[in-house]
């Protein structure tokens, strides 16, 4: 082969961010913000370059390549290597992660400059980029691993970064601990998912004898034939991991709280990349799922249910980022449903386009928030009860932040599925495969898509249209170029993202088929496209009609009157957090308390203490014999003498 092969460069996608973080760790604080930010961006950018080189290499040599780096765990039959797997699937993920990652790094240079000042600790600027680079490294490990265990390293590593970044302003939030609590919640919820993944891995090792993707998938058919129950268990436990990481029912609850992190984090980790890891996992293991129809059904319903459920909640939120968070959950539901239906390519397609437009939306939201914050400082608000993220406090921002408004509009339209933006094509592919195979799923997803358009319309209207509802919104201002430049690039991608897998061309389909096997290319069904497009337009229009009129300051959502208690449910996220607190957290707390106090201190500690006390009581009673009276000792001696003599006589 004449073309140069760059496969050996693959470890650098991990090493480059690691170098970036090490340098920042050592000198980042001393060399200032510009250096820390740009060096971290450079590291990620280089990782993106490496990813492109890998993609170029793959285009001429589409077979999977494994680049071993070293041994990791070797015990008996258990052999796990640090090894990278370059195939079309992993490279797609790498491109998304490092590409969107680089843009968000650049955005963060400007965003964090303001954020550290707003929150009053400039010393944490470098730390932010250290964490971001660590995240990129972990995510790269996740997507480029050649075995389940190494993937798990990245899997937990991104969870850690998520924890660190959600709790970045660990002294802020509700009661001062809100952010720290949110971070902990995210990590622990993810750990519940990881528990499932661990069990799945144990089962894989016991039944396959290896963790390596190639070998496992090679044997999958055989094992499924012999032990269908085991395969079902593996896939279901894996699904638990997926629901944790990709925020699906029932483990989605951490993602809305995760919005406590700085906005670039929400964009990068909690929208574009990390949360899609679950989708990636199912795509990677699509061979498993193809073998177990029951598991497929479960996955698909989990995804569809999440898509609809989260969309309803998004409808009732006022926090600009929370709406996007629930929207993310909902869109992840689409992807999971897609991979559950076997439409892996459609899922991956949506994953990519979603990374573009949802990343865009979050970053733009960040720009809006900082704009409002600036306005807030300008207006000298006593900032305690003022929440710059509350959409009720905004309004009319299209004038103050025109550029942000435009990119936001593009993102929102893409998300709503308006042709010919990226979201239209990817969502359409999912709907088509549902239409063809699972009508029930189709109905649920279409409903979710309608709600998506509606809540995006609501958000657009509340934030950008009408008149400013507060002084801060009135005085809000546009962000600097370093912030808006990534927005524009992402907007461009959101517009053009559909090209990746245009109906009839199927670039992505062909590309991924080298890894996922030849699938049936999704047809373009006019009926479906029509339905979804019309519904999206109706949703947007309806939202516009309902919300554009509201300008008064004491903001009451118009839907509240129309839907009544139903809206209260949406507003309160259907009380799921409270439900979990009641059935899991509080019982565990009570159980731990019961174990700690009555059981450990009261029973187990008393066993030893009781033995000691028994000995003591015995000694105490014997001690009384030693009364100090000589005559009484003499009497006892005599008693002994008499007894011995009596014994001698009676013998």
């Amino acid at each position: 082969m004449e073309t140069v092969q760059f496969f050996n460069l693959v470890p650098w996608v991990v090493f480059l961010p690691l170098i970036g973080l090490t340098v920042n760790l050592l000198v980042g604080r001393k060399l200032g913000e510009i250096f820390a930010g740009s060096f971290a961006s450079l590291a990620t950018g280089l990782a993106f370059v490496v990813s492109i080189l890998l993609a170029v290499s793959l285009s001429s040599h589409p077979e999977a390549v494994t680049i071993p780096l070293g041994d990791w765990i070797t015990i008996g039959t258990l052999t796990v290597r640090w090894a990278f797997r370059v195939d079309t699937l992993s490279v797609v993920m790498m491109l998304v992660v490092s590409g969107v990652g680089t843009l968000i790094h650049i955005y963060s240079i400007g965003y964090m400059h303001n954020d550290v000042r707003h929150n009053g600790d400039t010393g944490r600027y470098a730390r932010f980029f250290i964490f971001l680079n660590l995240f990129i490294a972990a995510m790269m490990i996740l997507v480029s691993a050649d075995n389940f265990l190494m993937m798990f390293v990245g899997w937990e590593g991104v969870g850690l970064c998520s924890y660190l970044l959600i709790g970045f302003w660990f002294e802020k939030g509700k009661n001062g601990t809100g952010n720290a609590e949110a971070a902990k919640k995210a990590f622990i919820t993810n750990r519940i998912g990881d528990f499932g993944l661990l069990i799945a891995m144990f089962l894989i090792f016991v039944n396959f004898g290896t963790f390596q993707f190639d070998e496992v998938f090679k044997q999958a058919g055989q094992v499924a034939a012999v032990k269908p129950g085991v395969m079902l268990l593996i896939t279901l436990f894996m699904l638990l991991g997926v629901t944790g990481k990709s925020a699906q029912l029932p483990l989605y609850v951490w993602l809305p709280d995760a919005m406590a992190g700085p906005t670039p984090v929400s964009a990068l980790i909690h929208a574009a990349t990390m949360v899609t890891a679950g989708v990636y996992l199912v795509a990677r293991s699509s061979i498993f799922y193809a073998l177990v129809p029951t598991a497929q059904t479960v996955v698909m319903w989990v995804g569809a249910a999440t898509a609809l459920f989260a969309a309803t909640i998004a409808l009732g939120q006022y926090d600009i980022k929370k709406v996007l968070a629930y929207s993310t959950i909902s869109q992840l539901g689409f992807m999971v449903a897609a991979v559950g239906m076997g439409a892996t390519v459609a899922g991956m397609f949506h994953l990519v386009t979603h990374a573009f437009f949802k990343g865009l939306l979050f970053l733009a939201a960040g720009s809006v928030i900082q704009g409002v914050e600036r306005g807030m400082h300008h207006a000298n608000h006593a900032s305690h009860d003022f929440d710059p993220q509350d959409m009720r406090q905004m309004g009319g921002l299209r004038k103050q932040t025109p550029l942000t408004f435009r990119v936001y509009l593009i993102g929102a339209l893409a998300l709503s599925g308006i042709a010919p933006l990226a979201g239209f094509f990817s969502k359409d592919e999912i709907l088509v495969s549902a239409w063809q195979t699972q009508p029930a799923i189709f109905i649920v997803l279409v409903l979710a898509a309608f709600l998506t358009a509606f809540y995006m319309g609501r958000q657009l209207t509340m934030v950008f249209f009408g008149e400013p509802r507060t002084e801060a919104a009135e005085k809000a201002s546009e962000s600097p170029l370093v912030v808006t430049l990534p927005l524009m690039i992402l907007a461009l991608l959101s517009v053009l993202g559909g090209v990746l897998n245009l109906p009839g061309v199927h670039t992505l389909e062909t590309w991924l088929s080298h890894t996922l096997g030849e699938g049936e290319p999704g047809h373009f069904v006019w009926v479906v496209a029509g339905i979804s497009l019309v519904l999206a337009l109706i949703g947007l229009g309806l939202a516009w009609m309902i919300y554009s009129r509201k300008t008064d300051k004491a903001y009451v959502d118009p839907l509240k009157r129309a839907l009544g208690s139903l809206f209260t449910g949406m507003e309160n996220k259907w009380w799921v957090d409270e439900l979990y607190a009641a059935i899991i957290l509080n019982p565990y707390r009570a159980f731990a308390q019961f174990m700690a106090d009555p059981v450990d201190l009261g029973v187990i500690d008393r066993i030893g203490g009781g033995l000691a006390a028994g000995t003591r009581a015995l000694a105490e009673s014997i001690r009384k014999l030693q009364n100090g009276y000589i005559r009484s000792y003499a009497l006892l001696m005599l008693l002994g003498l008499a007894a011995i003599m009596t014994y001698l006589f009676l013998r």
């Binding site: 009276y629 009484s632 005599l638 008499a642 003599m645 009596t646």
Partner: protein, 172 residues
């Protein structure tokens, strides 16, 4: 009843009565005096049983020296009539019961093992001679004898050390 038996019984009664007096008398001085009577009675018994040296030693050392020492201490401490109230309620009855039991058992042991027909020997010249005792002491029992002397020395020194008034520390 032979003369010997009569003498023995008389002495025995005196000894027992004196012992009872020792135990029961409230006044410590009386107790000491009763004990002297007891010693004397027993000394006479020794004499009868052919141990004149021991009998005299008993009178001089025990009845003489030791009991004088007792009386001195009693007088010195002024402890002729201390109050005696029994606090241990089982002590008294048990003392009698056990004392009685030992007595019964001892007497029973004696009477079942020692025939009543075996009598004491008349005093023999050789055994009664202090010289025999002396020879035995200085030959066969010379080592215990020396040890006994050391014990006496230690006791003498010990008594002195113990009773010495604690010296008031100089300069205080």
């Amino acid at each position: 009843m032979t003369t010997g038996l009569f003498v023995f019984l008389t002495l025995a009664i005196i000894a027992i009565t004196a012992a009872a007096g020792l135990i029961l008398s409230r006044n410590t001085v009386y107790s000491a005096l009763f004990l002297i009577i007891n010693f004397l009675a027993v000394a006479v018994l020794y004499l009868i049983m052919g141990a004149p040296f021991i009998a005299l030693a008993q009178i001089t050392i025990y009845a003489g020296a030791i009991m004088v020492l007792f009386l001195f201490v009693i007088m010195l401490l002024g402890a002729e009539k201390p109050k005696e109230i029994e606090q241990m309620k089982w002590q008294r009855p048990l003392a009698f019961v056990l004392g009685g039991a030992i007595l019964v058992e001892g007497v029973y042991a004696l009477l079942t093992r020692v025939s009543i027909t075996v009598t004491t020997n008349p005093a023999s010249e050789i055994l009664a001679d202090p010289k025999t005792l002396g020879i035995s002491l200085y030959t066969k029992y010379s080592l215990p004898f020396e040890i006994a002397s050391v014990i006496l020395l230690v006791a003498a020194i010990g008594a002195v050390v113990l009773t010495r008034m604690p010296k008031k520390d100089k300069g205080q």
